[in-house]
Homo-oligomer: 399 residues x 2
DNA sequence: TGGGTGAGTTCTACGGCGAAACTCAGGGAT
DNA sequence: ATCCCTGAGTTTCGCCGTAGAACTCACCCA
């Protein structure tokens, strides 16, 4: 007599994790809410989704049985009445790897289900051909997965890769200026090498979604992200959804006019965003004024020490950034603007100029703009890629 | 023996119209889709909402029985197979009145359920006190309703009123600069006078929603509206929903910087939107240059005839508008930008300058911007108010 | 005139939901 | 100490909206 799987399955103890994608509507919304907003009691979830207490019992039981959610004894209790038994996720039950590609380097992080960075690694991209990059990324992924003893490769559920450029639905890189690629099926290449789900997405959209789920813009349904670095990046979330038309995420804001007396860009624009705000624009302008080559951080330090050339360059750029922030505020009316990117210390060193320009460009009657400066580096870009992987794992779709 | 209502009701013939608000989820979505997108066969609706054919039969029957929808024999037939029996609304079954208030005048229109204007009327606001305005509006509403013999007052289901200013959820005008009002319960005042549902809303948001449902932006889920008139208006729809934070609709874009060499505004800004684009700004600048007072339309006509002063004024303004359009395009990435307002002929007379500036301010790699110039007047503003009334009637909520 | 095609109907089974009555675990007043 | 109050979570039951399958319908074309 054979014993079918139905006889064994019910006796299995709850395993950590559990499958997210086959979940139906309400159960899925509940699981995502718990993932995003930490331990939540059933009663709070019932209020949030306008469900009856009975429905919450029914919906949460299979989630607990499968190990997808766990009960905690949290400090979430009401002032009177029975204490709550909040639901939470075990964020260590699943791990993800995010890789950010630049022209020269691959930055990778290993994160938990809640995008907490557990380990980081990077590798130079000596060979920027699709196969070369794929091999380097695959090595990074394997190294990260094995490096962390307590996790193991099995704990990694998906890999996210982000880069500057346009990326199609199926992980194919349609164009990537920094790598000189067009129509490269990077996702497929990596999936074949790794045997893991791989999601490829635009870096700016990934970072924006990371801020939305696990970053500075949690619980905001309407915000913008501006980044300063090699280029000027822009991401927008409205009605709790990323704005993602064909033009999103690929640096088309670089020609936004900020200062008609500013430096020229290759297209003949004066004082456009790329000519004023990027790391290379700031260092070039400072180097010209100082009659010697200087690095970006050096320019910022000199400005802090009171060097007049550096101060002027930094303040001009900060004013331009302020103008851009004000324009974003005026035209998209967000709850907050997140400033980020490798060069964003500019916003701190030039804070006064930035805020003055924002105030000057906005209607005095407008509500004040919440500007949130995030100190970020390549690790945050890689974390954004990991969040793309997490979203795919949790939602079943990339968006 | 008494006869209950259940004995008589089923024998009544279908009456035109029917109640929209008690409809449940799927039935309501179907009814709205038919209202917005004209006659639609059940099969198309089933595809659109991912419902089975059986569900569509079940859902559409009560809508037909109540007279809310009607069957048409339309030219919507497939190349083979049984012809369709598309569902449609009888747009004449319900009528609505929209009133746009300015500082001096109330413009009113009577429309069908599909916002087709049936009659129009206007009245001077000699007394701009809340009671005086309410009395004038009530007279307009009664006159419009009775003027159209075949409709009758009973055919009017709701009244929409729009004005420049902030309006609360319950139709209370929180502030209206042109009328010098603050915290006026205009909706209540009018409902008491008329005995009809009255919805009050910001004029710019009303116009934007009108473009979305019955205007140039039908079937767009992401567009912006810019208006030129006494002020500069701005409305934004993203993910098929109007962006409506506290700052929306009240002319806060007026200080958006467009041309640092432009004329000054009272706040000391040079070349901000209000100082460059409004009707009064254009006429003032032209009058100064021409050494005589000129009207707005005259300036535009002179520019067409080649007058150098008028041409310069118009082109400067059109360039400013182009810069604004480009900024909207760059920062919100819409499918189209609708240009409207009483002064929008500026965009036609200065078309070349406008388009040149849009091109200059946008990244050459960005997708081209769909700019849709709508010739509009006060009638369109009033129609926007009527659409607010229609939306309330159909959706049960103002938004 | 009969088969092919897609529109629309009928009937049945199922699953998700709310309502109500219930149990549970604390706090505070007597 | 104990009793009630409060709010959390459970159980049970019945309703309602849905899909699915088998069906009819109306038109085209060979």
């Amino acid at each position: 007599m054979t014993v079918g799987p139905s006889a064994a399955a019910p006796t299995l103890p709850p395993r950590p994790g559990g499958a997210w994608t086959p979940l139906t509507g309400a159960a899925h919304r509940i699981a995502v809410a718990v993932l995003l907003d930490g331990p939540l009691p059933r009663s709070e979830l019932a209020r949030r989704f306008d469900l009856s207490p009975g429905s919450l019992t029914r919906l949460s039981r299979p989630l607990l049985d499968s190990g997808l959610l766990v009960e905690t004894t949290g400090a979430y209790d009401p002032t009177s009445g029975r204490p709550t038994r909040p639901l939470d996720v075990d964020e260590s039950s699943h791990h993800f790897i995010g890789v950010k590609l630049t022209a020269t380097t691959a930055h990778a992080v290993l994160t938990t289900l809640r995008a907490r960075v557990v380990a980081a690694e990077e590798a130079l991209l000596l060979d920027t051909s699709p196969a070369g990059v794929a091999a380097t990324v695959a090595d990074l992924v394997r190294s990260l997965a094995s490096e962390v003893a307590e996790v193991g490769v099995d704990g990694v559920r998906a890999v996210g890769v982000s880069l500057g450029g346009r990326v199609g639905e199926r992980g194919e890189v349609r164009s990537a200026r920094y790598l000189g690629w067009s129509d490269v099926p990077l996702g497929e290449l990596l999936e074949d090498l790794l045997g893991l789900p791989v999601v490829v997405d635009n870096d700016m959209l990934s970072l924006t979604r990371a801020e939305q789920w696990f970053g500075a813009a949690r619980r905001c349904d309407h915000f913008a992200v501006l980044t300063i670095g090699e280029g000027v990046g822009y991401g927008l979330v409205v009605h709790d959804e990323v704005v993602d038309p064909p033009d999103a995420g690929v640096g088309l804001l670089g020609h936004f006019p900020l200062d008609p007396t500013g430096p020229l860009c290759p297209q003949g624009h004066a004082g456009c965003a790329d000519s004023l705000l990027t790391i290379s624009a700031v260092t070039a302008r400072a180097s010209t004024g100082l009659r010697r080559p200087v690095r970006y951080e050096e320019v910022l330090d000199l400005a802090l020490e009171g060097d007049p050339v550096a101060r002027r360059v930094v303040d001009d750029a900060a004013r331009g950034l302020g103008r851009l922030v004000a324009a974003v505020g005026n035209l998209t009316m967000p709850q907050k603007v997140v400033l980020s990117g490798d060069g964003i210390r500019l916003a701190e060193v030039g804070r006064a100029a930035l805020l003055a320009q924002v105030a000057a460009d906005r209607n005095p009657l407008a509500s004040p703009l919440d500007i949130d400066v995030q100190q970020t580096g390549f690790r945050e870009w890689a974390r954004g890629a990991a969040v793309t992987a997490i979203r795919t794992f949790v939602l079943g779709t990339r968006a």
